[in-house]
Amino acid sequence: MAFEELLTSNNDWFLKAGPSCEVVVSSRIRFARNLADRKFPHHANALEQRQVVDEIQKALSVLPQFGQMKFIRLNEISSLDRQFLTEHQLISAEHAASLGERAVAFDSVEGLSFLVNEEDHLRLQVFRAGLNLKEAYQYLGQIDGLLDAQLHYAKDPELGYLTACPTNLGSAMRASVMVHLPALVYANRAAQVLQGVAQVGLTVRGLQGETTQIDSAFFQISNQSSLGKRGTEIVEHVDRVARQIIEVELQTQKAVFQQEGLKLQDRICRALGTLKNAKILSLKEALDGLSALRVGVEQKIVKGIDLPNFNHLLILIQPAHLAKIAAKELKGDLEAKERARILGLTLKGVEAL
């Protein structure tokens, strides 16, 4: 097993308190880029794929960040390690699962990663804590500019960056934010608000990737199309909508606490009790508990933990992270047991007021 150092790193991006982090968990910018006159990864043979990996590796080495980056060929590591990198936000689930010559280069402190031979030859992405799309876009734009000078990107004056799938043409970027909307969900207003978001051309997804089903209080909001729009426009659009959502969520939170304060306090304290004392915890139960606890911290009902710690916990309670912590494969209830142990340990000093 590898990457143990990522478990103990205490300066990763998600440990910082970002702007508006009471509602926005994280911001992400992602660009899709392809090399001109090459087959897209899914249509290329192993040799052609390897050439792309080598070429991109060489281009990445000119980046000032390359010194603290890791470059990994995904077929050289175990599937557990690939799942671990997925949970750590460094590669996508698709990238972890696909076959062939593919690689990732990452700097986990910056939340920066380069996915080579995923759906496109290169997908570069960066995460920021809280609502910080503008800074993330500037940061990734500079890196993209440096790579543009090294690699021959496929571009068309009318279609923009050429991508394996035509949905991603144009600026070929996604700006997304993960928001936590517990009050809107509680007050049954989330569906209505998110429908409004969809009407202004953004995509909303729930925890399981479903638009229609509200299965947790976490949602991801991102732009749909990037053709015909400048990158900065896209970023401003998502940022503006995110700010409106923050306002509605905070107003709703205030209102529901005025009306049903005792009931909500009870819920939060029960969640704390469960997370601290349960012996086995499913992922769903843990996420729901952390969602409630997060509201407790915002409402100053719970002390002893701050918001960035939640981001860390959301990642730590995932299966491959638990296996890495336990230093062995966890079968059946052992995973749920380890999850309960970690949460009990982490939340030891956390108290309800």
Binding site: S26, N34, L35, A36, D37, K39, H42, H43, Q83, E87, Q89, S92, A93, E119, Y137, Q138, G141, Q142, D144, G145, A154, D156, P157, E158, L159, G160, L162, A164, C165, P166, T167, L169, G170, S171, R174, S176, M178, T203, R205, L207, Q208, G209, T211, F218, S225, L227, G228, K229, R230, T232, S282, L283, K284, E285, L287, L314, Q318, P319, G332, D333
Partner: protein
């Protein structure tokens, strides 16, 4: 005992999942158990696939497309052999593959399948053209503004605007590099 999920392979794994105070238990084969575990472990709030909805959209679009063709051909079905116009001369990719998986074979497929992709692109994105960022975002806008007051840079910027209006992107990129050089000097 057969696997309770696929009803095909022998059940070798006892799968138990507890959510809250509800426990579901099942006897599964190894493959199904693995699938279940992955579905269960795939609940990571950071992991979304923003591109997932596209295949549905494409199927709908292509269904419409096929419908239109059938109408023109008065109900006749299309021949099974590969029409050279349905294949990219550069990479050999067939348009029928794209209908199946929504992905193209290479960057030149956009040219090869222009007649099919043109309307598709418009229906996804609207009838629009790419708008480049022109200048890459910079972390020091105030310095940039001060520097751009130099007359020679100002003149170059005007030329860039003209080049872009004339859709002369290569020239615009060359001029942009010249501006950069002057600014860094």
């Amino acid at each position: 005992m057969l696997c309770q999920k696929c009803q095909q392979n022998p059940a070798t794994v006892f799968f138990s999942q507890t959510v809250g105070n509800q426990t579901t238990q099942s006897h599964l084969c190894e493959a199904c158990a693995k699938e279940e575990t992955q579905a269960y472990g795939g609940m990571n709030p950071f992991n979304f696939n923003p591109f997932a909805a596209f295949s549905d959209f494409l199927n709908n679009f292509m269904a419409w497309d096929e419908g239109a063709i059938t109408e023109v051909n008065s109900g006749r079905t299309k021949p099974a052999t590969v029409d050279p116009q349905q294949q990219c001369p550069y990479c050999g990719y067939q348009l029928s593959f794209f209908r199946q998986n929504g992905r193209l074979g290479c960057t030149k497929c956009y040219e090869a399948f222009k007649t099919t992709l043109g309307p598709l692109v418009s229906s996804i994105h609207g009838n629009v053209k790419h708008v480049p960022e022109v200048e890459p975002p910079t972390s020091k806008p105030p310095v940039e503004e001060r520097r751009s007051q130099k007359p020679e840079i100002k003149a170059l910027r005007e030329k860039i605007t003209q080049a872009i209006q004339g859709e002369n992107y290569e020239e615009a990129a060359r001029l942009r590099d010249e501006v950069k050089k002057l600014e860094n000097a």
